[in-house]
């Protein structure tokens, strides 16, 4: 399986990442997350635990590959300062069939939200606060147990 995990401050484009991953795969399911500005957030600041964040993601990718037959997984997560509309995260899964590609993609997103070592701050009109864990995210991850 082709696994590609990147944590980076630079923006990235979907096209090159996805075209390469989809080579030879019947099914490609992807998720891209973007900074929302509808709550007045003007900057999102992401911090991560270098080393541990990558390891956690790699562990979830391994677990997904144990659960479903996968051909390739790409996870890209940005850190640093992001503005509304900017892409934070990409999870892309290549597989033979759509069901396993969708399942693995959702599984990885749910676990990224709850166990990967990232922390978010929101800046809104000069005030900065740490984003707290959402119960809905914990619930989403728990359904895979």
């Amino acid at each position: 399986m082709k696994t590609r995990i990147k944590i980076q401050t630079e923006p990235f484009d979907l096209g090159p990442e996805l075209e390469e991953l989809s080579q030879g795969a019947g099914a490609l399911a992807t998720f891209a997350g973007h900074v929302r500005g509808d709550d007045g957030t003007d900057t999102l600041i992401l911090e991560h635990y270098p080393g541990m964040a990558e390891r956690e993601i790699a562990r979830h990718v391994d677990e997904a590959a144990r659960r479903w037959p996968l051909l390739g997984v790409t996870v890209i997560h940005r850190t640093g300062e992001l503005k509304p509309g900017e892409r934070i995260v990409l999870v892309a899964v290549a597989a033979g069939h759509r069901r396993e590609a969708f399942c693995a993609c959702e599984f990885l997103m749910d676990h990224l939200k709850t166990t990967a070592a990232f922390w978010k701050q929101e800046r809104r009109g000069g005030e900065t606060r740490w984003v707290e864990t959402k119960t809905s995210d914990d619930d989403a991850a728990a359904r895979w147990k």
């Binding site: 541990m52 390891r55 939200k113 709850t114 990967a116 864990t133």
Partner: protein, 83 residues
Amino acid sequence: MKLLFFAWVRQKTGKGEEDFALPANVATVGELADHLRARGPGYADAFADLSRLRAAVNQEHASFDAPVNDGDEVAFFPPVTGG
């Protein structure tokens, strides 16, 4: 050992990383948190409520009962909010 602090734990303690000599009477993550709490006001604030904190030992999520040894990398941080 190496201590790491992230997010508001880092802000409250005033540092992200430090080398630390593990005291002889500290055997678990929880005992280490108790020890750090006594270091001064910033630490007292950061470690005031352990239910708001999570820990990792050698880059693996760990409970407060988990053992710590000199040479370990121990990190304290709030619950993660990735993605």
